[in-house]
């Protein structure tokens, strides 16, 4: 298990992403951040706080559980569900989806389907803390914390303080039993 980011690296990456979001969406009017369960949610919250500091305003932050939209529900044991909380109507908003690791793109496909059922966003952007490549769908991120070249069989483990009680990003070799994503 090799550590590739520590807590400070993650903070710096999120700060840079926040500035890029401001730059691309002047004034942050009608921005809505939606974190994807599980670790996207605290990341979205932190991004929201940073955006708030930069622009001296509050930015709405919500959460999206994509379990019911997965394309592999019949290939895995029954999943448990997390809350979906969207603080403002999605219609007409510029939605920034926030996730920890962008890999095959299937989670984002599911998130887009979930989002469409919630309303008609003006546009949708994607922020990922880690982009590890190996996409299986035509999906690309708008904001990336760190590009991490990996082998397909390797795993990337992200731990976030609010969820895991520790923080960092690690690459787990293919034959190692632990880790996720």
């Amino acid at each position: 298990m090799r550590q590739v980011m520590d807590q400070d690296d993650i903070s710096r990456a999120l700060r840079r992403i926040a500035h890029e979001i401001v730059e691309r969406n002047r004034g942050l009017d009608s921005i809505l951040l939606l974190g994807i369960h599980t670790r996207g949610v605290p990341l979205a919250r932190r991004l929201g706080n940073t955006l708030g500091e930069i622009e001296s305003r509050t930015v709405p932050v919500g959460s999206l559980d994509i379990g019911l939209y997965r394309d592999d529900l019949d290939r895995r044991p029954t999943i448990s569900l997390g809350p979906t909380e969207v603080p403002v109507a999605v219609d007409g908003q510029t939605v920034v989806l926030v996730d920890d690791v962008l890999f095959t793109g299937r989670t984002i496909r599911a998130a887009l389907d979930a989002l469409v059922d919630l309303g008609r966003a003006a546009s949708v952007q994607l922020a990922a803390l880690i982009d590890r490549g190996h996409r299986q769908l035509p999906i690309r991120p708008d904001y990336v914390g760190k590009n991490l070249p990996t082998a397909q069989a390797e795993r990337v483990t992200v731990r976030i303080d609010e969820v895991d009680g520790e923080e960092g990003v690690w690459i787990v070799p293919a034959d190692d039993g632990e880790g996720s994503t």
């Binding site: 019911l68 895995r76 029954t78």
Partner: protein, 305 residues
Amino acid sequence: MKNLLTTEGLDGDVIAGFLDDADEFVEVLRRPIPKVPALRGRTVATMFFEASTRTRLSFEKAAKALSADTMSFSPGTSSLKKGEGLKDTVLTIKAMGVDLMVVRHSGVGVPWRIAEWTGLPVVNGGDGAHQHPTQALLDCLTLRQHFGSLEGLRIGIVGDVRHSRVARSDVFAMAALGAEVTLVAPPTLLPLDMVGWPATATSDLDDALTELDAVYLLRVQAERGGASVFPSFAEYRARFGMTTERMRRLKPDTVLLHPGPMIRGVEIDQEVADDPRMLVLDQVANGVAVRMAVLFRLMGGVPGE
């Protein structure tokens, strides 16, 4: 978990898991498009060999909100009329391509037999006076939403307990979540054998009344013989009905539940039925979310696991 046939023996954690999922489905049902694709391509057959409106519609709505297809069966218009046996009927319907059956039947144990015969996941939608597990789950969800938890909650189940599959299912589910359940009924309407029931019993409603956090009123089941064991409905109301007078003596935060259909003027007075502390419509709304949770849990994973 393959089937949901009874609440007896279900772990508190398992029940809480259903309720946790149901909380999320309550949110799904409030969305502008109250529908998710989770069970696309799956088919649910509702096999109701006994009359029902709300339970059947509730299961069908739940299946559709999960994007499953539904098929329904009613004995009145079926080949059962021509003399086809139960086993042939269910195997025929299975052969059409069904992934789960919801079964209601007046015979105790029929859902177990159908699960055995078909090998399909089966949800018991009510078998005789025995079990009605999804009703118990929706009752527990309604109470958990209102009180935050059932731990230590004092619940009185009042009325025709002997003929009530609702009472039987509720007693085990509520007790598994930590509630203290008291059954209140005339001696003739208490179960013949309460061995193993995690509940106490009394025939004095007025004595129990002021201690209760929730009062669950049951309908007198005339069709199962419930009305033949007391002299008159007026007398039943006088001793076991939730009258306006009894309502005044409840603790101010005590709530009322009812499985429906309510018979106003017998187990509940006209005005009491419309009191804001009567949660019957919350129960009905929660029924759809709970049944989504059950269908999702039984069909949402790898088939057969």
